[in-house]
């Protein structure tokens, strides 16, 4: 399906991690196309029918995006960390472009200005919220922030995240749970218990 083979994507990720900025521009359409394929599949699924909404789709999209077994880098962990960063860049750019373009040239989205809507954790606005708050967490605790980056933006499982970061799964789970509470508090402010 890809005009470029996964191998090319792997090379592009490699280039990007070496500081070649043009690589991201070439990666973006490939990721968006994969996103679009996934989107079309969601459209094709009955919304009420959760049983056929497979979380496996995301993994599958990811697997196709990159020729994982052929990543022959000495430092695979670094490669995975880089791909999570790339995904974050691309998805955040995508979310921004969607939210801003809807309101016409450069207008800020209401959902960014107003108090975020707690009920909708799965909107593009909430994706941008995570990105923003995660930047602040990274300044305090880069390691905990990376857990979120790998899990949420990279789509990696607890076990994969543990392997990539050289941590135990239990540590990843603790950091993940803590960071989520921290991000929520950062976004929605202190609530009096």
């Amino acid at each position: 399906m890809f005009e470029q083979s996964p191998d090319d994507i792997t090379k592009l990720l490699h280039l990007w991690s070496e500081g070649e900025p043009g690589a991201l521009d070439r990666l973006t359409p490939l990721v968006l196309r994969e996103l679009h394929r996934l989107a079309v599949r969601y459209v094709g699924r009955e919304r009420a029918d959760h049983t056929l909404q497979a979380t496996g789709l995301v993994n599958e999209a990811y697997i196709r995006l990159i020729d994982w077994p052929n990543v022959e880098w000495k430092n695979r962990e670094h490669f995975f960390a880089v791909s999570a960063q790339v995904m974050r860049h691309i998805l955040v750019d995508y979310a921004r472009s969607r939210l801003y373009s809807k309101r016409g040239g450069g207008a800020r989205s209401v959902s960014l200005d107003d108090a975020p809507n707690l009920s909708d954790n799965n909107s593009l606005a909430s994706l941008l919220d995570v990105d923003r708050a995660l930047g602040r967490l990274a300044a305090l605790d880069p390691r905990t922030a990376q857990v979120i980056e790998l899990r949420y933006f990279g789509g990696f499982t607890v076990e994969e995240t543990a392997r990539i970061m050289g941590l135990s799964p239990i540590t990843v789970i603790r950091s993940w749970n803590f960071a989520k509470a921290w991000l929520l508090r950062e976004l929605y402010g202190d609530v009096k218990p």
């Binding site: 996103l35 959760h50 496996g56 995301v58 305090l140 933006f153 789509g155 929520l184 202190d190």
Partner: protein, 358 residues
């Protein structure tokens, strides 16, 4: 805040979360000592703990794809697929989106159903898809929605059906109860359509109230054979299981109406439709689902057998209870074996229901 401080907060937070809410206060009193700031910090994080549990439960990639999906469905409006100009989105369902469209050659309204684009793997698949569609297009019956055309354009497979104006059975049932004779008439029309298609070797595989349209002229079954067509045999079963959490090889359908063999990805035949027919019948008479809990497995079906129709509806003859029960038998060999046999039983029961039962 120093990294060490945050690390300490994280440790205490995690330890506190592992305790019951009653134990937490005592634990934190001890652990924080007199450090009021530390205590407040942890308490304010714990306040978000319940929400944090489900927060970020979908990866960003999926969030973006879903939002794209929501927009994408509307983007096809005003576009052309083949000789069909799409006018408006009229429905979204398991088999794809449905648009009202104009057939520019015959200048008439049609319903265009788009299918997920991932089906277009290669020329071989496209050919196979069109073959399957031709098989379905053979169906010509007053109670089956006619398939006019099938095509592939701009990365999308689509099916073109006759344009129907009516009310879905699912909507009708949520609105009002059907009198017993009326309910039986609907059942007979559905059975008649199924019997006809089965004779031609085509099974529906996704019969449910939202696939049945009520019109002035009677019922119309929608999406006949489309469940099968979406995943023609050329799509290997491994491909299906990769893309869904359903058991390997399972043909897509709707769990509330799926026979055990379909749930398990086994062989399906006319008796699979008979099971679904029983579930639909149950719903027509009771306005309740026979299997309300989205059974995922056969053991779930077995452990929650539907109650009798007569339990929720007065005036239902025992013969109808038995008929539905036999449709819903878990073993295909325990069900009615053919639709004509079932249809004639329906006809017999109908004759015992005078209009006064209504």
């Amino acid at each position: 805040m120093s990294p060490e401080r945050l690390d300490h907060i994280q440790t205490l937070y995690s330890d506190a979360v592992a305790l019951s809410p009653q134990e937490r206060a005592a634990f934190l009193d001890g652990a924080c000592g007199g450090d009021g700031d530390l205590r407040r910090e942890i308490d304010s994080l714990l306040a978000y703990q319940p929400r944090a549990e489900t927060y970020l439960d979908r990866p960003a990639f999926e969030v973006a794809a879903r939002s794209m999906a929501d927009e994408g469905a509307h983007m096809l409006v005003d576009r052309r697929l083949g000789r069909y100009q799409l006018l408006s989105l009229v429905g979204r369902g398991g088999m794809g989106d449905v648009y009202c469209a104009v057939d520019s050659r015959l200048n008439r309204l049609v319903a265009v159903k788009t299918l997920p684009s991932y089906m277009a793997r290669d020329q071989e698949h496209v050919k196979r898809f069109e073959q399957e569609a031709r098989a379905i297009a053979v169906l010509n019956h007053p109670h089956i929605c006619v398939l006019h055309d099938a095509g592939y354009d701009d990365g999308l497979h689509y099916l073109v059906f006759e344009y129907l104006v009516g009310e879905l059975l699912s909507d009708r049932l949520s609105r009002e109860a059907q009198s017993l004779p009326r309910a039986m008439d609907l059942a007979m029309q559905i059975a008649d359509a199924l019997a006809y298609a089965h004779e031609l070797g085509i099974i529906h595989l996704d019969l449910k109230p939202s696939n049945i349209m009520l019109m002035r002229s009677g019922v119309k079954l929608l999406d006949f054979g489309v469940a099968e067509l979406r995943y023609p045999d050329a799509l290997t079963s491994s491909e299906i299981s990769e893309t869904s959490s359903a058991p390997r090889g399972r043909k897509p359908g709707t769990p509330c109406y799926m026979a055990p063999e379909q749930l398990e990805g086994g062989e399906t035949d006319a008796r699979t439709d008979i099971f679904a027919f029983g579930a639909v019948l149950y719903e027509i008479f009771t306005q309740k689902r026979a299997f309300p809990n989205r059974p995922e497995t056969v053991s779930a079906l077995r452990s929650n057998p539907p109650s009798r129709i007569s339990d929720s509806r007065a005036g239902v003859p025992p013969s109808l209870d038995l008929l539905v029960q036999r449709c819903l038998a878990l073993e295909p060999s325990d069900r009615w074996q053919s639709m004509p046999e079932l249809l004639s039983r329906c006809t017999e029961i109908r004759s015992t229901l005078s209009e006064s039962w209504a």
